[in-house]
Structure formats: structure tokens, C-alpha cells
């Protein structure tokens, strides 16, 4: 690698690594191998949305473990993944339409009464639903952000399936109706910014979004709604809690877990797009996510807590599954393990668990540092090259039963969906193209104050 961040001393912005810093010969040397590897990983991840789906209502399971309920976020990822499967020839177009239609019909007809056993309320849905009946399980909350992921998937499907035949026409009209019925304004509750969730009989959960988070997509959809649009001020209220930081010498809008820097970028091409905050800082959200990947790599290189396996080509802290073993002495320090948790770098929490899928999710931002991670992780598991990348998390500090490292069993829908989409955006720009073509998303971004990039190109061309 040509570029090594010299964060111990100083790092003026003109020293930040640029995409052109990819080592030339090395890249071509690996190009064929990388393409093959990415294709295999993407297809393996895509398979999740064929295998863990209920045949009757099309709901997608939250995780591959037996008995897992459906998660509406996984449904959204599934709806976004089918177009990719069609383009890559992994699934027939008619099959994809049928699968999408099934779940859209289910959602349309679902019980929206908001009672404890219903499916949703005011166009929002409960986070986890029973795979068969589609009703709320686990006493879970009506999830605002997961509904946004679902709706993003719904709109992606509608933007892709544009044929005039009956099935695709029905799909488009159902999708439009589902989006229009979400009452975003209601989710503001008493305050300006959106609430996290709502529980029947209890009301809004009493804290909102604070600081930069994965909610960009949520605000883009909420502000773009033709029926229940959020007030512009809601976006300002949220961005008011941002913190622009210089970390390890990089200027960025910090958030610890990587998925925060990735989720909204799965659907929206943020290259060159600036809202008021990013204009003030001379940056954009895409570049920001790129820097976040570098900060994560820098943290793993330093490895202050001395975990096994961390290196410049092995990093990625995010929300992921981890061991639930009792606390253990590591380097003389008592280390508890967190199970499924949002891990972050450099401010933690960190229990030695990395997520290969989290690093790979940053592929589109910083391929020059992500591809070495993928290569290394793939090489470590020779017999099953995708195991460590596709698993929700792995912990090399904690040895598993077989003496090897601990790897999260099975897969989680969220990771698989993000992977399929991020690899696709890196390879072909398909999903970003669909997002750019969607007028709701465009208007939502414009109402949030975004300018530049593809938003302004289109405007010039119209004139």
C-alpha cells in the first residue's frame, strides 16, 4: 500500500488518501481474482433472500437460525436485492416480480390497527413479525428506521420493475400506496426530530435520534412524502446534533459503527451531494463514509486493547453478532463479551469481535483498503471462502470449540442485504441509478437542502 496515514504527527486534508491512491499494478494483478471473489460473495449473500423467505406471504427472516421471526428491514433488503438477482441472472424476472408482489400484497392487506397483535400502525410496521401470521412478536416496537428500510426497498422494486405488464403494474401501484400511507409526520411525536419507535399502550419511546446516524434515508423518505411530509425543520433538528471531528487526523462526521456510514448509501448515491452541514465543512456524506473506513482501519492497526487478528487488512466494527461467553481475562484485563451489539471504533465498545460484512459494506467508498480485507478473510477459510465475510461477526480472541476462532453461526438478513447492494453499487451502480430516478427520493433530498452531484446535473439538463 502506497499510502500510510501519518496520524501521529499531522495530517492536513491534502494528505488524505484519494481513490486514485489505489496501487496501479497491484490492483490489476488482483483484478480478476477480486471480481471472481466479489461475484461469489454477492451471490452467496443473495441466496439468503431466496432461502429464508416464507412461501405464503413473502416475509424475510431476520436471521438464518431456525425459528427466527421476520424482520421488516430484511424484507426491505429482499425487495432491493431481487432486481440485482434479475440483472445478474440469478433469478428470473417473473419470479422476482411474484416474490415482490407477494410481500407487497401482504403488507397492503396487513392489520394496521396498532394493537399489540397487529402488523403495523399508520403505515409503519413492527420491527419483528411472525414468519407465518405476519403479526408482531417479542413485544417489539413499531420501528421507524426499519420501516424506512422497508419502504426504501419497496420504492426500489417499483423503480426497477417498469414493464407495462399486469404484474409489474400492480407492483408499482401497491408500492406507491404503501409509501403514501406512511404517516411520517406522526412519528415526530412531540418534538421536531423523529422518534425511534412506538409501543402500543405506551406511546413513543422517550428518546429521539441524537448525533449522526443511519437516519439519512429515513429523512429523505419522510421529507419526500407527497401525503404526510415531514417539516423541513425536522432535518435541521436532527443535523443540529452532529459533531464534526478531527480523529486520527481525519476530519469527519463521526459515528462509531460502520453500518451507520453505509446504510443510507445502499440506496442513495451521495457522491457530491451536500446539505447545509456538508457545504459548511466542504465535504459530502460519501467522502465522509470513506474517511470513516480509514479511521476504522487506523484503529485496528493500533489495536489498543490488544485483540487477536486486528490489522491494517483486518478491521470492521459495526452492529454485529458476537460471542456471549462469560467475561474472560485477556492480557490481564477482564473482558466482557457483548453478544449482538453495535460495536464502534475508536470509542468502542470493542470486545475483539469484527464483522467482515461491515468492512465489505465500505467497498464502494474505499475499495483500496476493503479489498485486502476481503482477500485475507477469504484466504483464512480455505474450504468455505465466504464464511467469515458473510457471518455476522467473528472473534479471533475467543477460541471456539474446535480450537478455531469464534464465528457467528448462520447469517443475518441485514448484513446480507447490505452486502448484496453495496457490492452491486461498486460493480454497476444499478441501485444508485434506481434511487436517482426516484422522484420521491429526489424531492426528499432537495427538501432536506441537498444540492450538487446528480441533483444539480439533472436540473441543468432540464433547463
Amino acid at each position: 500500500m502506497r499510502f500510510q496515514p501519518a496520524s501521529r504527527y499531522s495530517q492536513p486534508p491534502w494528505l488524505y488518501p484519494k481513490p486514485s491512491d489505489q496501487p496501479g499494478e497491484a490492483a490489476s494483478e488482483h483484478a480478476a481474482e477480486d471480481a471472481r471473489l466479489l461475484d461469489a460473495l454477492q451471490q452467496a449473500a443473495f441466496r439468503y433472500f431466496l432461502e429464508h423467505v416464507d412461501a405464503r406471504n413473502g416475509l424475510v427472516a431476520d436471521a438464518s437460525r431456525p425459528g427466527a421471526p421476520a424482520s421488516i428491514a430484511a424484507v426491505g433488503f429482499g425487495l432491493s436485492a431481487y432486481p440485482i438477482g434479475v440483472e445478474r441472472g440469478w433469478i428470473a424476472r417473473a419470479d422476482a416480480v411474484q416474490r415482490s408482489l407477494k410481500v407487497l400484497r401482504f403488507l397492503t392487506d396487513s392489520d394496521q390497527s396498532g394493537t399489540p397483535e397487529s402488523t403495523g400502525h399508520r403505515g409503519f410496521y413492527f420491527h419483528f413479525l411472525d414468519m407465518e401470521s405476519g403479526r408482531r412478536v417479542w413485544n417489539c416496537e413499531l420501528s421507524i428506521i426499519d420501516t424506512a428500510i422497508l419502504i426504501a426497498g419497496v420504492l426500489t422494486a417499483a423503480s426497477y420493475f417498469t414493464c407495462p405488464d399486469a404484474g409489474e403494474r400492480e407492483l408499482r401501484s401497491l408500492a406507491d400506496a404503501l409509501y403514501r400511507r406512511v404517516d411520517w409526520r406522526w412519528a415526530q411525536g412531540a418534538g421536531q426530530a423523529l422518534a425511534l419507535g412506538w409501543k402500543p399502550g405506551h406511546g413513543f419511546m422517550n428518546y429521539g435520534w441524537q448525533g449522526y446516524s443511519e437516519a439519512l434515508i429515513l429523512y429523505a423518505l419522510g421529507l419526500g412524502s407527497p401525503t404526510h411530509p415531514l417539516a423541513r425543520e425536522s432535518f435541521d433538528a436532527w443535523t443540529m446534533t452532529y459533531q464534526w471531528e478531527n480523529l486520527y487526523g481525519y476530519d469527519l462526521l463521526y459515528a462509531g459503527p460502520l453500518f451507520i456510514h453505509q446504510l443510507s448509501h445502499a440506496w442513495i448515491d451521495f457522491r457530491g451531494l451536500q446539505d447545509r452541514f456538508m457545504r459548511e465543512k466542504g465535504c459530502d456524506y460519501f467522502e465522509n463514509s470513506r474517511r470513516a473506513a480509514y479511521v476504522q482501519r487506523e484503529y485496528a492497526t493500533r489495536n489498543p486493547l490488544g485483540f487477536v487478528g486486528y490489522a491494517a487488512d483486518c478491521w470492521g466494527h459495526s452492529a454485529c453478532d458476537g460471542p456471549t461467553a462469560p467475561a474472560m481475562d485477556i492480557n490481564g484485563r477482564r473482558q466482557p463479551f457483548l453478544g449482538y451489539a453495535a460495536r464502534g471504533a475508536p470509542c468502542g465498545p470493542d470486545d475483539g469481535t469484527l464483522a467482515g460484512s461491515a468492512a465489505l459494506g465500505s467497498l464502494v467508498f474505499a475499495p483500496e483498503i476493503v479489498l485486502p480485507v476481503v482477500r485475507k478473510l477469504a484466504a483464512l477459510d480455505r474450504d468455505d471462502a465466504g464464511r467469515r465475510v458473510l457471518a455476522s461477526g467473528f472473534n479471533a480472541t475467543l477460541a471456539g470449540e474446535a480450537g478455531g476462532i469464534w464465528v457467528s453461526p448462520g447469517q443475518i438478513g441485514f448484513d446480507q442485504g447490505l452486502l448484496v447492494m453495496m457490492i452491486e453499487n461498486h460493480r454497476s451502480d444499478l441501485i444508485w441509478g434506481l434511487g436517482r430516478a426516484n422522484l420521491y427520493i429526489r424531492s426528499g433530498l432537495q427538501r432536506a437542502g441537498f444540492e450538487g452531484g446528480w441533483l444539480s446535473r439533472r436540473r441543468l439538463w432540464r433547463r
Binding site: S10, Q11, M240, W244, N246, R302, P349
Partner: protein
């Protein structure tokens, strides 16, 4: 009645009382109208009385209980002494990291720790001694003060008149209204240090900074500690990263944290205290041996007859004051916990001094212009000074934060104290320091440098020029300043420097 209950014999409490509440203190003879009459001898009151007397004013100080206030009797000093024991014990368990073997049998001796804390308190009480105040000319009265008119009070029947007065009665613990708690029995900050053995399991109700500090110390001493806080966020007043770092530290020490949780009911069964906890409408039950309640404090305004002096107040905010700390009665000022938020001893000291300047010397010092550092004494500590990022952004200031992780600092690595960071918030482009947050083992010591910089108007670029002994943990501040300088070095300056080096 001032005596500490429990096993207090021979540990120096007599000397403590001789300082803070001498048993046979003869009430002074009132000397006519006092220039400054101070009600309450805590940090704010004692400081103001001391300062005014040194400047030659005729000063009276009325104290209800002990000089030194909550801060001395049950607050900062005694708790920090016990935290020191907790930290030492935690360090001993980490002995292996530093190349030593922890002793086979290693039990915390709570009795000795508490007695040590009391000795510490006795030492510190010398600063608030009644004799010293008398020596510089303060008329010190022990008793309950009540206003009898706009310029007079009575102390146990004795009438005192003043031209300026200051209310510094501090704050008292909020009453608890959890059904069954009183019957089951509980500890609070007053009674906690009378306990000379450690319960096996303890529930801490209330998640303010005090609750978190206490929970961590208890967990380190080997108590299974559960903390239940009604707030949905851990330490809601702090920036998220700092709070997250401390919550991780607590979790590592074995504290079980329940956010968004209130205690609904307490009952006793087989010698255990069974508590029903309520979270978002869902109930869980925990069984513990002891309950510690730290629900915060409220201003001590009751029993002062403030209405008679025409002083506006309410039970939540306390005495109403303007930015110059004057009450609605223009002769009367207030300082410290009775009127100010947040309730910290450092603020009490500073506001007491401010009142002397404003009330006696016609100064116009504003409370809002004060730069106040404060610290939460968990391990790592959280220290803060100046503005938070959110405050700055709400005022429309473009703010940028320079962060240095403690694991980048050589001395912190050498000390094995790598948890935490230094965050310095500056106005973008100018380097004017708006505030700072430090999370580190010695954050409270490190924040003072930033406090000095803010008060004197020193900018972040200048801090890069200040040499520090190497290696020290405070070097993190220099590193943040270096990062700031690096971002100032833009293409234009680089071009200029190159041009100069070429033609030179």
C-alpha cells in the same frame, strides 16, 4: 446529634466537630447592621464570608449544621476517598498486566476504607474551621435562620440586621416516594458511610453522576451492583461518546445497567429486598441485599421564610436569581446549589466569590460569563468545560472538534491508562476554544489547562507552542493543538513555503 452514628470512636471525629461545629460555641454578640450576612456555611457561604471578612467587611455567617456543607460532610471529599480504595482494589486485580502477582487472598476491608475516608474528611475540615473564621473576624452563629423582614433575620430568636445578605443554604436530598422503600430500609449519601460491611448485592436507584460513581466503586469492591436510572440515555447531560465510554467501563467492572427504568415497588422477603423495576411498561424483579438511593438533590428553600423578605423562589429551581445572582429583594443575593444548576462545589466556590464582588463592590460580574469545569469521578473520569457542541451549533457557531484518543498518547500507553480521549471544541477557522470534554483516568486534572486557556483567551494554535514535560498524559492537549495546526496548513501556505524555500 452531630455525631456520626456507627463505629466512630477514636477516628478523629471529635476533631472534625471541633472544626465544623464546635460543641460549646458561644453565640457572638450581634454588632449592629452587618455589611454581609451569609446564610449557610457550605462552599459558597464559607468562601464568601472569608473573602468579605478579609476585605474588611462586617460579616456574619449562620450555619444550621456543619460548616463545609454537603460537599464536606457526605459529598465530594468522603466519596472520593472511598473511590480511591475502589480504584486501588481494581488496580490490584490488574496486577498481572503490570508484571506483578495479585495476592492470593485479596479482600477489600470496607471498615478500614470508611475509617480512612473519615480521617480524610477530618483533615479537609480544617479549611472550614470555625476558629479560623472567627480569627479573621467573622461572627459565626450556629442555628436556624429565618427572614423576619427585607433586611433582617432571626437565628433561634436572636435578631440580626444586614445591609446585604447572601442565601447559600445549598440543597437537600430529594424525598423518595417509592412504595415500600422506607419500610424495607435503604441507604443514601448520608448513611452510606456508616455501613462497615459490604452487601453482596446492591441496587442503586438514580443514574446521575453520583449514582454512577458510587455504583462503580461498589462493583469494584466486590459487590454485585445493579443501577436503575429513569433516563433513557446513560448520563444524558454528557456527549454521547463520553457517556458510552463510561458505560463500557462500568459494564467491564460488572455493573448491571438498566436504562429507562424506575423502581415501582419494594418489599422484603426472607431478609432480601425484592424490587419491581419498570421499563417501557414492562416489569422485571430483582432481589438484592441493600438499596442505595441517589435521586439527586433539590434546593433547600424550606423554613427560611423567604416570603417575608420578598424573595421569589420555587421548590424546583430554588431561589430565583438574575445573571448577577441577585434575588427579587435587591439587598439579598444567592449562590451555590440553592439557586444554580448544575450543583457542583466548584460552582458554589466561584459564585460565592462573585456575590462578594457584586454585592459589596458594585461589580457587574455575570454568572453566564463564568467558565466552569466539572468532572464525574468514575474511572475513567469525564471532565467538561465551556460549551457543548450542541450549544455552539444552536447558537449558529461553526464548531469543529479535535479529538485525540488516549491510546495515541505515549504516557497513557506506558501507564496502561488508555481508555478515553481529549476533545477540544473550537470555532472553525479561528482556533478559539469554545469548550472541551476529556475522558481519561485523570481527566479532572487535565481539564484545568483548557479552563485556563478559555478564561485567558488563549487559542488552540497557541497551545501547540506550550511545551510540556514529556512524557505526560496532558500531552494529549498538545497533540490536539498540533492537529489543529495541521489543518491550517492548506495548499496556499504550502505553496508559499515552497516558494520561499526555493528563492531563499
Amino acid at each position: 446529634m452531630n455525631r456520626l452514628p456507627g463505629d466512630a470512636a477514636g477516628d478523629g471525629d471529635d476533631e472534625l466537630l471541633a472544626n465544623v461545629a464546635p460543641p460549646d460555641w458561644p453565640p457572638p454578640v450581634p454588632k449592629g447592621r452587618y455589611t454581609l450576612l451569609v446564610i449557610g456555611g457550605g462552599p459558597a457561604g464559607a468562601t464568601a464570608a472569608h473573602e468579605a471578612a478579609l476585605l474588611g467587611a462586617k460579616v456574619a455567617l449562620v450555619e444550621r449544621h456543619w460548616l463545609g456543607g454537603e460537599s464536606l460532610s457526605h459529598g465530594s471529599v468522603i466519596t472520593k476517598s472511598v473511590f480511591r480504595t475502589g480504584r486501588f482494589y481494581a488496580d490490584m486485580q490488574d496486577a498481572e498486566i503490570f508484571g506483578a502477582t495479585a495476592p492470593e487472598v485479596c479482600h477489600p476491608d470496607v471498615r478500614k476504607a470508611v475509617l480512612r475516608a473519615r480521617r480524610v474528611r477530618q483533615r479537609v475540615s480544617q479549611q472550614f474551621s470555625a476558629a479560623k473564621l472567627k480569627a479573621i473576624g467573622v461572627d459565626l452563629f450556629f442555628g436556624e435562620a429565618r427572614f423576619t423582614g427585607p433586611d433582617s433575620i432571626s437565628v433561634d430568636g436572636l435578631e440580626l440586621r444586614f445591609s446585604k445578605a447572601m442565601i447559600a443554604t445549598g440543597a437537600r436530598r430529594k424525598p423518595v416516594d417509592i412504595p415500600g422503600l422506607v419500610e424495607a430500609g435503604y441507604l443514601d449519601s448520608t448513611t452510606a458511610f456508616d455501613v462497615l460491611s459490604l452487601p453482596r448485592r446492591i441496587l442503586v436507584i438514580g443514574g446521575g453522576s453520583g449514582g454512577c460513581e458510587g455504583a462503580q466503586a461498589l462493583a469494584r469492591l466486590g459487590c454485585h451492583t445493579i443501577i436503575a436510572m429513569s433516563e433513557a440515555l446513560f448520563l444524558p447531560g454528557e456527549e454521547r461518546d463520553s457517556a458510552a465510554m463510561v458505560s463500557q467501563a462500568l459494564a467491564r467492572d460488572g455493573v448491571e445497567i438498566h436504562l429507562n427504568t424506575t423502581a415501582a415497588r419494594v418489599r422484603c422477603e426472607n431478609g432480601c429486598k425484592i424490587v419491581d423495576l419498570l421499563n417501557d411498561g414492562e416489569s422485571t424483579t430483582v432481589s438484592v441485599d441493600e438499596i442505595f438511593v441517589g435521586l439527586g438533590r433539590e434546593p433547600a428553600v424550606a423554613g427560611l421564610d423567604l416570603e417575608r423578605a420578598g424573595i421569589a423562589y420555587d421548590a424546583v429551581r430554588g431561589v430565583h436569581v438574575d445573571d448577577f445572582l441577585r434575588t427579587s429583594n435587591k439587598r439579598v443575593y444567592a449562590a451555590g446549589d440553592v439557586c444554580l444548576e448544575p450543583k457542583f462545589a466548584s460552582i458554589a466556590f466561584a459564585s460565592g466569590r462573585m456575590v462578594v464582588a457584586n454585592a459589596l463592590f458594585m461589580r457587574r460580574r455575570r454568572f453566564s460569563a463564568m467558565t466552569i469545569p466539572w468532572c464525574t469521578y468514575t474511572d475513567p473520569e469525564i471532565a467538561h468545560v465551556g460549551m457543548y457542541v450542541l450549544e455552539a451549533r444552536e447558537r449558529g457557531i461553526a464548531v469543529k472538534t479535535f479529538t485525540v484518543q488516549m491510546h495515541e498518547v505515549d504516557r497513557a500507553i506506558a501507564d496502561g491508562e488508555e481508555a478515553g480521549f481529549v476533545k477540544i471544541h473550537v470555532r472553525e477557522g479561528s482556533g478559539k476554544i469554545l469548550g472541551a470534554t476529556i475522558v481519561a483516568r485523570h481527566a479532572g486534572e487535565m481539564i484545568n489547562e483548557i479552563s485556563l486557556a478559555i478564561v485567558t483567551g488563549v487559542r488552540l494554535g497557541t497551545l501547540a507552542k506550550v511545551l510540556r514535560a514529556y512524557p505526560t498524559q496532558a500531552e494529549a492537549i498538545r497533540m490536539a493543538a498540533d492537529r489543529y495546526r495541521a489543518t491550517r496548513l492548506n495548499r496556499w501556505w504550502r505553496w508559499l513555503a515552497r516558494a520561499w524555500l526555493t528563492i531563499r
